[in-house]
């Protein structure tokens, strides 16, 4: 922690600050520059991070030096984390994982039909929402428990693993029972109580980046799950909110190599939600893999016209299969496989 004093800071103010730092068991070092005095703080930065040092009289600004997350950091763990979903499906290794399925679970037969098709094309995880966060209270809100059961049936028939979103802590036992991986959606990335509870489950977690959250905050949210002892986290870049209005969100490709540099956790990409347009899903899926993503999560629906949600961004199964062929080539070009 570096504390920069104002040009007009008095000796009394400086002494007051130095005393406070020592009181916290830390060691201050003082450097008087031409224009400013600077106080460095040596010791556990976490102790002082939560102190509002900027309100001390005479302080101009406070600069943090260390990262605010620990367990999520690559400094903490050098080698890549590999998250095991069981039955040989692993995220973070040389083999990419592809999760695919409808936005929301609608009908049992339809879900199984989609599951078979995406499996055939190379997906190993089935996605589908039983609980749906919708901006309008009048829109379809998901089938709930019924939807979870359909997902379980689709798993039984195909051998695919199942990932589904948990929105409400009251549903956690249900979701833990039926899903192989719990998705924490973008709107819940900073629902800290939810993060703590899924941390306690030890289930694999798919943590989506919030639409207004920085990479640093993304890793801080992972830290919540990690701090409960759950290291089975897969991060997911799904677009951030910007002024650009030709896409639903702006897909932040550079977040993928950035996360890889900063953290040991695997990261996949969701080009369906990021772009909101099915015609852009393929190009962005290929871009993600080229940038180093460990996998993809893609919306697939055989009749997007009749989908209960997000039809605009769903691929037809045949387009999904075609995309998989293209993604496979890019994967090989960067030394990965599907």
């Amino acid at each position: 922690m570096i504390i920069v004093l104002r040009p007009d800071a008095t000796k009394k103010q400086t002494d007051h600050l130095v005393a406070k730092i020592k009181e916290l068991g830390l060691k201050p070092w003082i450097s008087k520059g031409v224009e400013r005095t600077i106080i460095g703080v040596i010791g556990e930065e976490d102790i002082i991070r939560v102190q509002p040092l900027e309100v001390f009289p005479g302080v101009e600004k406070v600069l943090a030096i260390l990262k605010p997350y620990k367990l999520a950091s690559r400094d903490f763990k050098k080698e890549n984390t590999i998250v095991d979903l069981g039955s040989g499906v692993k995220v973070g290794g040389q083999r990419l994982v592809v999760m695919a399925g409808p936005c929301s679970v609608e009908k049992e037969k339809l879900l199984i039909e989609i599951a078979k098709k995406v499996k055939k094309a190379g997906a190993t995880v089935l996605r589908g929402g039983a609980f749906k966060p919708r901006t309008s209270p009048y829109a379809f809100q998901g089938l709930g428990l019924e939807g979870l059961k359909y997902l379980a049936k689709a798993r039984a028939e195909t051998g695919l693993k199942v990932v589904t979103e948990l929105m409400d802590l009251r549903d956690i036992d249900m979701v833990v029972k039926y899903a192989d991986m719990i998705q924490v959606g973008a709107r819940n990335m900073q629902n800290f109580n939810l993060l703590k509870e899924v941390g306690k489950t030890k289930k694999p977690i798919l943590l989506k980046r919030g639409m207004a959250n920085t990479v640093k905050e993304f890793l801080m949210s992972a830290e919540y799950v990690l701090s409960e002892g759950n290291f089975n986290i897969v991060l997911c870049e799904r677009g951030i909110r910007t002024f650009e209005d030709s896409t639903r969100f702006t897909f932040d490709t550079s977040a993928i190599p950035m996360v890889k540099n900063l953290s040991h956790l695997p990261i996949i990409a969701d080009p369906s939600h990021a772009t909101g347009k099915w015609g852009l899903v393929g190009p962005c899926a290929k871009a993600s893999i080229a940038a180093g993503a460990d996998g993809l999560i893609i919306e697939v629906h055989p009749k997007p016209e009749e989908a209960f949600s997000d039809g605009e961004q769903s691929l037809l199964p045949e387009n999904f299969a075609k995309m998989m062929g293209e993604v496979r080539k890019v994967a090989e070009a960067v030394g990965r496989e599907i």
Copy 2:
């Protein structure tokens, strides 16, 4: 709803779309322009809003005409809603409401001291977090039930009303019991289940705008609460996320008159969280009132250096009193009073 067809849309595609519209019980009207054919849809727009019309072959884009919210709209209710917190404290009328207090509830004695001071300066509602959403799992998370009890004591001693945040549905009964007004924080603005449950309580709700949410989405979230029959909603502008990094968020002053135009619900401003700097709180508080806000929510702490959270943006009680004097003059200049 207006559907714009692609220049190369075929007759078959057009017929398919028209058939679908009729199937939904709506009436299409077709207009062939020089360059495009356009289909208008007459009838309940809500029926068709949830249909993914953009995926129909031949469709270029779909333009919504009506607002997606109803109950929150000024079309639905012309006159301003006034939310009654009891004991004569009302939000939305000619008299402004000022909510003030510490970011988080820390110690009983300190809280009561602050409560007395903010009351003396003109506040009628005490704010204070018993449950705190913190980006770091290692930061102070709030006192929970203990904090709620302190708030109740401060109310008993001062007569101030109490507003506090609900973060977790498991705590709803507790918060309903102790608070006069339930705050839904910015990070929960799209926690739809939470919105529905607070809607069922019929308690006054303080709904804060999400940091990445548009005014339209803000009103959609209010619609969730309204659709459960709870019309006691006070909206709160608290800054949005932008590229500007000299303030914590960017305070969107224009959202205040915009909400006033679009909705009958009252709206207050939170310049403390919006700016993140105590030196900017006063100017932005005055700006809010000048722009038509129905009140303010302000962080006040007698020893910001020792606050457990957000000390940088807290006003000293004496600065709060000074600000109130200034705000009072601006209020009078726009025909309001405190």
Copy 3:
């Protein structure tokens, strides 16, 4: 300047960096913390600011301590700068300045009519574009020299001062000849050659904030003008680009007190361009003054339906007069006058 080394930085890397700092005539001080080594640099920060220190092997990050602007800073000049437009019109003092007029200069008679009306309502400066930056090459681009002449006539008839935009350096002599104040538009805030040339003129400059520029960059652009010896700069907040789409831009009210803290230069507000909706101009004008702005620039047009540009955000003269009455009250409430 503070340089934070990586945990694994070698002695050789550290020595290399220290040698470089000494080579620049600066003094390094080294502090070895528990987890990191930090090197502080004492001396003229400007010398080292342009060095890409982050690329030195072993460096993790570089933190600037001093502000990158000097002449624009309040550290450089404590008292407020007052810009004198002549004939008693001054910006930055206790009296507010109001600039008003049409977006673009269209017809001589109409311009004079508007000029008379805005003067009567209290404006002292006439605004109007002779050169118009338009996103479409097919839109009206301004009358050029003819427009400048109309402005001069309006000045002769009313005594109002004239502010108009300079877009192209080839027009600088013309604009200097006819205008009392040269506007540098938002799209040219980082047209550095233009800034240097208007700096050389010594004319009063109205520098508008770029739609994607931070307050720091805003002051850096002012620094370009100042560094040519022209201290007659009035800054103008006119909205920044964000995800919010119900307004044309997001009016950043907090930039006003922020600039006042950081700089001695006066700042006015342009609620017409910031909001893009005439119904929001009044509330945001009042908010600006309440937040401490030194004045306003407002679009006024008697027949917005027939305006060649930006009719949506123009006030009718009668609405402008009404707004002025309201703004006057707010001005008095904050100790200013119009």
Copy 4:
């Protein structure tokens, strides 16, 4: 153009609007819905686009149907445009183009050394700034004419084509004389006079996206150049400004396929400026090609520590060569070659 009337629009207001539309030589059609009346306008949308219809009494909103650009649109020209830089270097075909070189031209010998190295690695165009847009007036501003001459020498020695930025119209003849391609930088994307003048030159133009501009505005700026008869435009995605602060800008990968859908113009990517960190350049370069970009522009410097600008984002020649090897594989995976 679709005009939505307010629920309370009167017959007189409607008639006034209809009369205005007819006066413009267009044909209105009126549709009375359950809640609103809607007026469609048939005919040349451009005629009415510049009319401020939103200010007519009774109008709620105006929805554009057609794109505001014509010549840039794929509707106007179906097949991809291929821009020919001479000597067999073409942009937009099956073969990708790679432009590489230092941020700014510094020393003749160094420039030639870099040119030889990037050529060897597969680049066919040399980039380098003779005029540099710098946020600080105290930073290196480029060598000007001297720099242009160095570029010409490097071309003579290596056979590489030369692209360099034009910042000031007063330098246009010089730049036209020495460069094979004129770069219009991000800060000048909406410098409309500059766009018109480079349009008149007929030289190949490299038009970079503004940091706060939408894809639609990007194409509108291309329209300015096209409308002067210059169809030799290569677009360049270089990152947009967002709240994310771990990278310099947010690289908008999805803009690449979006532009490909909307326009016939080629588009390349600049991952150096987009990310601002050399460690992210390679992953984002690969992502761009996977997403369909027609080429890359990359900063390369043998001694980033001593670069006069942007050293942080420059690749060492050996890292550039390595990146080229990786990019080549991705290019082949998507059916392209370098």
